[in-house]
Symmetry: C2
Subunit: 524 residues, 2 copies
Amino acid sequence: MNNLSRRNFLGMVGAAGGSSAIYKTSLAMGLLADTGPKAMLDLQQPGSEKKSVAILGAGIAGLTIAYELERAGYDCTIIEASHRIGGRNLTIRHGDIIDEMGQPQVCNFDDDPDLYFNAGPARLPGHHKRVLHYCKAFNIPLQIKANVNRAAYIHETDHFGGKPIRVAEYIADARGFMSELLSKAVDKNAFDQPLSEEDQVRMREFAKIYGDLDENGHYKGTSRAGYASGGFLEHGELKQPIEFSALLDSNFWAGGLSRTENFDWGEPLMEAVGGMDNIVKGFVRNIKSPITVNAQVQSIQLGNDGVDVYYNHKGERKKLHADFCFNSIPSHLMKGIPNNFSKDYNDGLVALGPGNFFKLGLQMKERFWEREGIYGGITSTNQRIRQIWYPSHGIQHQKGVVLGAYTFWGQSNFFERLTPQERIRYAGECGDKIHKGYSDYIEAGVSVPWGRMNHMMGCGSRMAPENEEKYFELIRQPEGKHYMVGDQVSFHSSWQEGAFASAEYALLDMDKRVRAASAVEGKG
Amino acid sequence: MNNLSRRNFLGMVGAAGGSSAIYKTSLAMGLLADTGPKAMLDLQQPGSEKKSVAILGAGIAGLTIAYELERAGYDCTIIEASHRIGGRNLTIRHGDIIDEMGQPQVCNFDDDPDLYFNAGPARLPGHHKRVLHYCKAFNIPLQIKANVNRAAYIHETDHFGGKPIRVAEYIADARGFMSELLSKAVDKNAFDQPLSEEDQVRMREFAKIYGDLDENGHYKGTSRAGYASGGFLEHGELKQPIEFSALLDSNFWAGGLSRTENFDWGEPLMEAVGGMDNIVKGFVRNIKSPITVNAQVQSIQLGNDGVDVYYNHKGERKKLHADFCFNSIPSHLMKGIPNNFSKDYNDGLVALGPGNFFKLGLQMKERFWEREGIYGGITSTNQRIRQIWYPSHGIQHQKGVVLGAYTFWGQSNFFERLTPQERIRYAGECGDKIHKGYSDYIEAGVSVPWGRMNHMMGCGSRMAPENEEKYFELIRQPEGKHYMVGDQVSFHSSWQEGAFASAEYALLDMDKRVRAASAVEGKG
């Protein structure tokens, strides 16, 4: 078998038995080197007696912990409640099962490597150094992802006659009017501390450039909004600015306009070529510890010599004993798992409440948005779907998968109550108000309501501010030899970087204890 | 030979004989279909008697004209003064010759498909429909390119202590201070037409969100600038805002800050995967007409039955007669080419003056900028290099090619006077002020001063506004059966889309004449 057909074979194994099967077959076929890339953390070797670690959950945090501890010589066992490895790092492609409670879906996209969407994390900012470290270590190709698209739309059903407005136009006009007002305020020297004459001149100039004002400090439109006509064969003709009152009356400035200023969403963002789950595959390629899927934790008991984890696997109750336990089970699910943690610790876990993001992917038979000049990026709407994301990959191919809804809270509750088919129809109707004939392009669709996904029932957990002060520090500290981990135990919940950071925190804390203990032993 | 090794073979042919050789060999090997993709324009077939066309210059305009007219049944001949096809669409890789007057360079980058830079056009906006049409027709893979990078720097030697400031920080602080001033002006109702109470409330809210002000309308810093510390394992701590007076005193707001609002530079931009010259290769694959390189036009004579073009090829004077002539020779070079055009037309050509962009590419032995959190995009500086562009491709690979200078006018004049080696050294010294150890990473470098490139001696030609009114329309109209074309004869000079638009304009004008003539013949 040459390398190519080996990998095809692995694909078949994967389809039949999941990633864990792939991993084991890979090992058997000698495709994986014995030593993978280097660890990120410099952890102490556990000494002559090999320490054992139980890792609950095979998401980003759990995989990171297994990867790092394996390299430090620990004996790791990973158990995962769902049928798959990766947690909320989930890329949906042809044939994938979406394990929604009571109504599982099978992805009916064409079998085409281009036709996928990232149902979980979908954006990598350049300052998320931990996730980028592992991408580099695992040779995961990255590409630039469009997030802001000035050619995409702002759409509000009750403003601008319900017509979508190009983002560039809205931004340019908002800057223009705001700068004109600022310029007038400078003329009247209307500030607490009057500006010096020199500063007045500079402020007027600043406003003029910031808003593209005319020589009298008035905003009369700008080429920044795109031309109404011309620009190539004829002189460009400026667009009529949106009325300032209509702009102020609309809602985009109160939300979407500044959302793109968020540091985590600042240009440029990146994505893994071919799907974000390549990060998961990178870990699976480089982890030797056994990963057991379909294994649901039933009880966690702290003892004097470590932690006992009882779990159900294929109808059998099993016990896993380990010196340390790292637990990324969603905190709100811990309420239903018997344990002997302290009351405070359990109270803290309950205080960490789940979010319920919802994403819906639609396979479109034509990339009609590209004919409108939109290549990647996001359209915002006040409809329940909230956003339409256009793919940054597969540009100018025939088909593409659009993210037809990406919602939080109330909107997610709405979609959760619908059947998968109803969600597609509803999202199509919303899309029709933005793109002519949108619904007609839909060939297939699947939806991922994280609040209803088996073994998760939520995502992006956060504490209310009053609880944060009371409980956050408590639950990120170990309870005996048990650590709660995951993005939920970080200040960057719902980002992969949060999961990496949490894993790092717990690992370094454990390492400190192991080092301290071995120092004591050394003295003994 | 299977397809893969055929293409390898073509690569070798290309190295030996240039693209034209590839094209002919491809034809001989049956790799090219007889009919390529469809034409963009619906041009009239020239009738029973095949019309001949002389195309002067094998840049984007010339190639487009050949492609479209071939498909309409015309007999095209392309002659090109330089040693290569593509004009200013030029991607520089290992071994390429940079034909600068008096000091030719050979690119000493490693022989690696990742290590290149686009010395001419480098950005494709989504509304440049013509260039995107041809990319699609030729199956040229495109990817998103980072243009703005908020993690990149603003650097002014005489401000902020000469230290580079992150773009995100500058933008966030500028928005903050400006919004605070606006909010104060609302309090004092300092506008020409006083705002209603309702509008006052909305404007205050607008300012608050736009600038991320506190509840009292003050700007005290924002997470949009990135945190000073924390954010993942600890609560994020805000950065101290830049002093407003320091911000106003700096120059970035007067130029760079708003430059990114330019419609042609708005997110997201794209680029051809592997180099912008894949567009040229797409044309070469799909054009059958002969392209003769190293053929310099010596004289253009309009006659009653068409146009005579005299040119020099390998020391021989040759004559090309054609029914129509499309001429993309840089207008300022036409002064030195004898012709029998009208005085006005020649005056118009002279009025179209050349620009002199300068680009310098540096092969860096490590992608050190990625360690600073910069993935693609642009750093701005007030030094002569003006910009540093980080590559959007090859993310996290070992090496990368940085655009170490991209300048216009005065700065280009400065670099033009240096030797290639001096330019690299100078650009390295500028880079050192921004990135620690920048110079030490430089392994190789080449520079492309368009103002000194043989057979071009300029780029991005434009008319002064007073000339535009007098001459622009004149020179884009045909002189007899001779058409001036290229980005120079468009309102989008220095963009490929300008060249496509100009070609389209000339083709449609010619088509109208051919249709009119054939209608007359039909009546006769």
